[in-house]
Symmetry: D4
Subunit: 256 residues, 8 copies
């Protein structure tokens, strides 16, 4: 709870404009909305953190997801659901035909501009998403669509891994003009180091679970990225395209 | 090598202004300077990446470090040496009395504004470094001084870990006004999640090796930070204060 | 085998009241009941440990589970079966319609007060179960129902993770009045540290397998909880809601 | 910050008894005391959590430790310093000759009853500390002295590991009468399971780094303890005698 | 190839009784029989190692398994197939109705005494198999039947884990009279240490994958068993009942 | 991009034979072909690296695989698809009946000599593939067929693991005459060390995921192979038959 | 406590020959002797387990070790101290000049036949210790001397690892005549599989910490040995020569 | 033992030219020379494997190393000692002043051409050693000198890691002309993938322990290299410059 709003509330209590019970209630009411199925929404997150509440679809029942989405809709807020089973996505689309279901990116979006978030995917923007292999595409799209959900102009360059670095060349202009790079790679996870060394932008590195054997479900890529010898690389969880897109949106939000 | 400068060079070759041998030589000369002791400097890094070459002191002999620092000085560039043994730092200070040796942060700085990088440490700035425990201070100072080396206005809030979160309160104003937070924590590594949830700024999380037993030399904190349930957290290597400071400088550089 | 009952038996042997063969037989008879399918019940556990034998459903065939439940019923003891496949639970309910099947918590309960253990779930009690996310609900319910099976008054606060700590506020009164907290969290596992720091009660931390990538099936949460910088946190196995509930019941049993 | 005191403060503001600036200042003043060397003390912890602030000696310089101890002394609070280098302990004892230095347990204690915390070590009490091997003694003493610092009556049974379980017999009476057991073991970490199975008390299991090879510095014992098949076992970090003692004190505090 | 038979062959060559080509052929012919599907049988293993070739069913196609079994049958040798899918076992039984299929132990046996290897399972013998939980029964039966296949008199005691050690008592006589113990346990893997400490026989410890979370698929039990503080414990792979039975047979074979 | 061709291009630009735009375009055109579904082909790889582009089938949709194969076919290049689902392989064969589908090796080959790559498998050649067990056969075939795709004469010796080393004898001549050995083994991964010690050829070691429990999906074999005490052993990823075959082809290509 | 002696005691109580208090005391007195410094000796271990109590030197202070050795000596028992610092060994030798200090094996032996346990080391015996490299010698000697301490005739074959298996030949006769093999190896840990495959004896595999990098302090060797494809291999902890020697003594003791 | 020489020996036995005892003796005599201190030399390795016996210095006493070197010298063979403590190297140089001690590479060489193996280090050759950072130089020199010991023409390119790839350009000619590349890198271990993608030569990847935190002593680099998406990369142990040099020598030896 930030100092400024706390102070304002204290002054209103002091002036009698607000009773102490009312003040306590307000503190509570703002906090959250408790729904069925054990779901509690953080409806004040946009005010506090600059980004609205997001619903992690994984591990939740369809009922829990529905409760969360309708809770956000009832509060007049936009909704982004991530890591969604395709079937759950179809059900949400049946509930909210005006929403946008992106099954490859495992996302569902509800809100005024939902339709503007989906394809065709741009090839340039303030944030550029670069993916190492075609198999990393789902995670890259999750990052791209998340950034766009948060209002960031974002583009994509696909399948340009370190075993053929010259494939980066056609994208050189877009990469040079972007403010930051989201680099998505599995296997040995070397692409973020190389991109950071070549272009010098801040790099949000997204390891993916693409690989086998000693890839350890993405852990090898995580380790490689954390140990990058290039300056300006920071890492999010395996396959966490959402996290990278949200981080990019916060960084670019601060840059405006 | 970016497309624009390559095209310009091609045009100069085409116009006869530059011979092909000269062109090839230029490409090579810009590349690097090969010194004694197996050290090769990347003197063009600032042009390419926006930040000058940095010397990682760890694992290098004093001779290798000296060769690198004098190579940078000869090229008229500033120098930052990181993860420096105290003895090596003393030797560098004897060589370059105008330099700045920060033994707690294990840094040595050489260049016009070296003296302005050191203490007293500010309590506010564009980038705020927040450390969980007093034992995390060395890494926090490495991040702070690195950010300042790169021209970022940066401040610090110390010893405000999750077992007593109210200790964050006196720093609330500075934290709210900063553009990003560098959060330094060992042990369970929970502070970045909490700070990201409270303030909503982009958080560069720096796990430290502070802890014991299942702390696994910082690996537990790495894992906690990568698994943060808060949006807007990205992670660098254990004890990598330099990496966090450089990332912060790149982000803030893009924001200007 | 405790000293007191051993001494009493020795005295009975000495007095001739009990023959040595009888003494040896008694020692054996009390020990256990060997059933079909390789199942051996510890029918004396309640006498020895204060809590009756419990049947771990995982890894057992339906026949083994049935043998155990009927063995306990035949001995006039209550039965709790944990980590039960839904199908096995349905079969047990068909066998014992007076029992309680809680599929979300993967539990089956047989005994006088079975019906009093299930929903509606209280919001306060001697033990408070706090869960970080809606996806942790199954484990939280397992802890809650186990504690209630053992006669503890227990309540629950759901979906109040560290990315929005103010969601704890509506539960502040119940949390302050409880004797201990069971804190259930996956992902970065930070909630136990924060709750221990805010309320100061003994915290039984239950890591869950909720998460992905570097969550490592709950191992990251385990490590974070073991490395808690807050005093008064102890940890059970991943998803071990039963273990937490049983521990809580023992602690509160000693407190009476 | 708990609801009750927040409400009281709001009422005082509402009544005009306290100005808003004063209210804000009070919130801040209570929070913490910022000392030299990056140390911030949580002076309100006893009020909030029932146990005073403790100083983790590991990873801190002597200057940081001294700053913390004198800060606590100046605030009229007792001090417990843990995981202390012997040299640092000697220095503290020179500063505060009335304090108690327990080098084997790596503790320093300052306060009215410091002398009552040390040896001779009792053999019975509300909390019984049981150690598997003679090499686990340092950790066991840390747990024992910590519990006593927090006012718990505690005793010890040493060197009674699973390879010779009958060595538990002479301690059977004390173990049966205690409210809880702290079980300290390295190597295979089997003792907590066995003790929980025999006596049925709540067991706080403390893995130690005693062992070699696949002991993995205590990690094997951690894993064994987390996987205990006995109900009523919860685990703290490797060698974390302090954590076990503090947890015991909280549990017994709630039991009174 | 052992020195004695090599010397005999050399003498036969020297005496002219055997030609050099014949000698070389013999060396080759004894070595192995190459079958279809990439299977090569080691038909001389019984002569060399005292135990006939065994067929690991896991990872092999039904065709590969059939080729191996018929190869052994054609060579007049007994056959033991381990880790067999139930369907593959049914197919083998259809091929060889005189064989023995033990689906719970995942074994198929072919040979004169096949029928004598199966149930009813004895409760005493030269080798005693002790299992901690009912869920460990499949692995325990694999060990028991393997030992019996190799001609060892072996018995079993089931479901006598460390959380209720007194369940060992009814088996005390059989355990004391056996020459060695095979102890099968998952979860914390503590039973081998306890049995070795109580009875002092050589213990072959078999970790099982029974457990969850930090059980890590049996790795925690492996580590606990390798770190046993009791002398006389050696460990085989997770769920490797076959390996334990074969080891037991070799030890008892040497003891005759 | 190599110096020689860059210099030639520069000279052509200097002479006016090539315009700067044309030069830039050529640099770009050579680089890659961007297809639908996020696939970018590296059509110049054979010129640059001596081996044509290969399509990793794993993690790709059938549409992505088809786009890649038709892209290669359109460019007049041969195609090798690896780690292919059987169903995807059938679909490709329906598209290109002249291709070769090797379901056991999970490969699809398209090009002039496709039919010559498949069975019958030779028993000798420049490269010898040696597999430890019948269950390692799929990976061994992947290595064998890959080497043959790249024009290497290669043979195979199957099921000759370390528990019966004399099974190597019938292959001694072929093994002695080969230029290098690819050794494929799961479980303890000991075969490469033994083969390197006996024959002294360069050994490419391929760990497989054959095994269970502490085999850790092939990681134990990886570790054993990396720690080989025999000189001349280098290791590829778990189950990476393709990588071993390609490495062999490069080595033998250099040897001609 | 075994059934037979318990029954005898019960009969004596029944006959009045022993009072109940006396019986209880006897049970206690036999159990253990509690010494200074937290050391508790298991003086009845030889009666119960067939091998006397052994003192693990690692992690104990010299005072603790001295207390244990003199406790054993006072009880008229032999003493074996393992994993001893050289300095502690020298101190014990000064205390007990009739003892045997083997610094390379880190052992100290006290008792009638101490001098017969040391060098010269035999080359044959009931148990043969086989070591892979010269650097494994210390662990091999620990196993050899331990077996001899327990009265086993044991011999050694050194430095015969898998990279030159023919070095085993000169030892073939001794290896064939032994009852079991203790195989000591670091690095890839392949020797036990090969020896078991060649000779067919029961193999106690001792991984050592010899190696570097991915040797992981012996863990790679542990994993290789647990995954042995040869039947008849069981594994003890890293560098646990004592454990292997004790296991061998138990096996051979049963074989007599 | 290869078939050809075995057959020849058999024929000599058959012809009476060699007695059976003599034949057996020869088999034994060729095998090895057993020295003091538990060292057994494999004097026939060059005949069998094409490379002479090498002495691993690590973990051996000076006496063991001396015994091995003099054993090789007595047999008229060249000697290479690796991973040598500087002090041990000085002692060997005092014993054999004509030898070559390379302390940075931790090698000692004895033999006719020892002096030709050392510096100055060439910049081109059949094998090119490429190191990522100045701190990797010791391992790179170990690889370089080992390859030269085995008669390979080898050169080096230093400090050309992925954060500034253009530093590879001045070495492009030498890299293009070499037959294979040894790529030495710590931290994220990305250089082998990039070099293999750019030049297409077979790459022997050598991970180093350079790094910190999640570098895990070189394990992160190992994983990255094993997961390389570029074809033609095989990996040796961490810091195993010797292994890479020996592998290179074997490959180039086959190529002649």
């Amino acid at each position: 709870m930030d100092q400024t709003s706390l102070k304002r509330l204290l002054e209103e209590v002091a002036s009698g404009a607000v009773s102490t019970d009312e003040a306590l209630a307000r503190l509570r009411l703002r906090a959250s909305a408790s729904l069925a199925e054990g779901v509690t929404l953080d409806l004040d997150r946009e005010g506090r953190c600059g980004q609205p509440e997001v619903v992690l679809g994984q591990g939740k029942t369809l009922e829990q997801i529905r409760a969360a989405v309708s809770g956000l809709a009832d509060a007049g807020q936009r909704a982004l659901v991530t890591r969604l089973d395709p079937g759950h996505g179809e059900s949400l689309l049946a509930d909210y035909p005006q929403g946008l279901h992106l099954p490859e990116a495992r996302l569902f979006v509800l809100g005024p501009s939902a339709s503007e978030i989906g394809p065709p995917w741009p090839e340039s923007g303030e944030a550029m998403v670069i993916s190492a292999g075609a198999a990393d595409r789902a995670v890259a799209l999750e990052a791209l669509a998340t950034a766009r959900f948060y209002g960031v102009s974002a583009g994509m360059a696909s399948d340009v891994g370190v075993s053929g670095l010259h494939r980066l060349l056609p994208h050189a202009k877009a990469l040079t003009e972007a403010r930051l790079h989201i680099v998505v790679a599995g296997m040995e996870g070397a692409l973020p180091s190389v991109v950071a060394g070549l272009f010098g932008k801040p790099v949000i590195a997204v390891p993916t679970s693409v690989g086998y054997g000693t890839g350890l479900g993405g852990l090898s890529a995580v380790l490689a990225m954390l140990n990058s010898c290039a300056a300006g690389v920071a890492v999010v969880n395996v396959d966490n395209g959402f996290g990278a897109g949200a981080m990019a949106a916060k960084i670019i939000g601060e840059a405006r």
